[in-house]
Amino acid sequence: MEWEILLENVLNALAAGITIGCIYGLMCVGLSLIFGIMRVVNFAQGDLLMLGAYAAFYLVAAWGVLAFLGPEVAPFAGAILAGPIVFAVGWLLHRWIVARVSGLRTVASLDEGHFGQLIVTLGIALILQNGGLILFGSMPRAVRTPLSSSAWMVETGIGDATIFLNKARVISGLAAILVVVALYWLLERTRLGKALRAAADNPTAATYMGIDVDRAHRIAFALGSGITAVAGGLVASYLSFTPFMGLDFVVIMYAGVVLGGMGSLLGAFWGGLTIGFVQQISALVLPPQLQNAAIFVVFLLIVVLRPQGLFGRSAERA
């Protein structure tokens, strides 16, 4: 029957939207963490995602360090391990470059250092993209797993309508949720997390408490880099990529973060989830080339109707 096919299509788009949305949510959380704590808009976030994808690729496929785990487990272990690897990259990027245009030294300056930050993070983005081209080559890569071409089938009980859950995406989505929960716990419950929030809230007062604000920023930048990199590693399990993949995803990340409200972590996750949803649902009615256009229509609607974001507080931190 017609409506059963329609129902099946809608349900499958919803399921795909949720799983992909969780991964988008994770990458948005990384960007949001850096903005929320450092007030730095990081234009290189998409390229840190790319580094995460290549880290997973080298660990699992090229060097096969994780091959012993088998093709079902290795891609996801690789994605998680991409986190600490890119955490270290983020740490060094901050130590050598970003710290020079951010932190306590710029809090008091007229533009809060935003011009410098814009130029520097754009520069890092270009260096990572082209450096990636030299090191990794332009050939599209993928982290192959048999799970990306198999699905769990869920009978809906309504006629013959069945939901196909792509195994790679479901596991990726669950891993993303796990990482977000762990980060949330870190920020809310641990001494380090509270110190990071205090440094974000009032850098001067945090210094009076004995919190090293520049170090807090370094941790935040590294954590944000690592988290987006895990999302990159997860993307790599179902999508082929090149060193320029960051350009596609940075758009999704910015849309998601603004959607959820700048600086709100859970908001960023919901924002990313919403983007995933819109993208997949729009696939039902629009040709694939227009999926990103659909994202922007929703994005513009929200900016017009609710400029503080879905979860943002408009008056928070002038």
Binding site: R191, K194, A195, R197, A198, A200, D201, N202, T204, A205, A206, T207, Y208, M209, G210, I211, D212, V213, R215, E316, R317
Partner: protein, 237 residues
């Protein structure tokens, strides 16, 4: 305990402090009074390392403080309760106090200091789970002082604790400061515009005007000085 000698600070060529010398002894309550813009807050910021010096020295127990990075200074026992309170608005009351106890000493003694804080300011116990930004001005001031106490400091620096508070609330804050000084024997450096109250509390006072110390001495000397009586206390000859 704290010795400041011939200390000068400038903002872009403009002298904010020139040749300030001041000392705070163990267990003393020292007050710095003076009009707006005299450099009182600048002095505190310099002690905390937020403002760089031009010349002079600051020593804590004989140790050169200026060579210690700002974020390490609280760990040496200096607690700065800043002007305008500066509580962490997006953190809860309890989390603010925990951040006060970020120092090693504060963490080691957290249970006792928390009990003492709740004894001094019971309202903070009632509001423990509330975001600090939702507190009233008086409550935020109490929280700022509590946060300072939580670091288990050796020297508590209070910058204008009565600023912007209703008279009754300000009186209560002064009462608590006096109590902390008397009962806990804490060394306190207090900056105040409410000169009468500040001088009444202190063992020793300094009058700071346009970046210079124009007068200093024990409480009786200051309170009986004609200039202080006329300019700050509103008393005639």
């Amino acid at each position: 305990m704290l010795d400041i000698e011939d200390f000068s600070v400038a903002y872009g060529g403009l002298r904010a402090l020139s040749g300030v010398s001041l000392s705070v002894g163990e267990g003393q309550l020292v007050a710095i009074v003076g009009p707006n813009g005299a450099g009182k807050s600048t002095l505190f910021k310099a002690i905390s390392g937020i403002v760089p010096p031009v010349s002079g020295s600051i020593r804590l127990d004989g140790r050169d403080l200026l060579s210690v990075p700002p974020a390490r200074r609280p760990h040496l026992g200096i607690a700065h309760v800043p002007e305008g309170r500066q509580v962490f608005k997006t953190l809860t009351v309890r989390e603010n106090i925990e951040m006060g106890a970020y120092t090693e000493a504060g963490r080691a003694r957290f249970a006792q200091t928390l009990e003492r804080i709740h004894e001094l300011f019971p309202i903070l116990y009632e509001r423990a789970g509330q975001l600090a930004g939702t507190l009233s001005g008086g409550e935020q001031q109490m929280l700022a002082i509590a946060r300072g106490l939580a670091s288990a400091p050796r020297l508590l620096m209070l910058d204008e604790p009565s600023m912007g508070l209703a008279p009754a609330v300000a009186d209560m804050i002064f009462e608590r400061i006096s109590q902390i000084h008397r009962e806990d024997g804490l060394t306190i450096l207090l900056v105040e515009q409410r000169v009468a109250e500040a001088l009444e509390l202190c063992d020793r006072g300094y009058v700071l005007e346009t970046g210079r110390i124009v007068l200093d001495g024990p409480f009786q000397t200051l309170i009986n000085d004609d200039r202080v009586r006329r300019a700050y206390l509103g008393l005639g000859d």
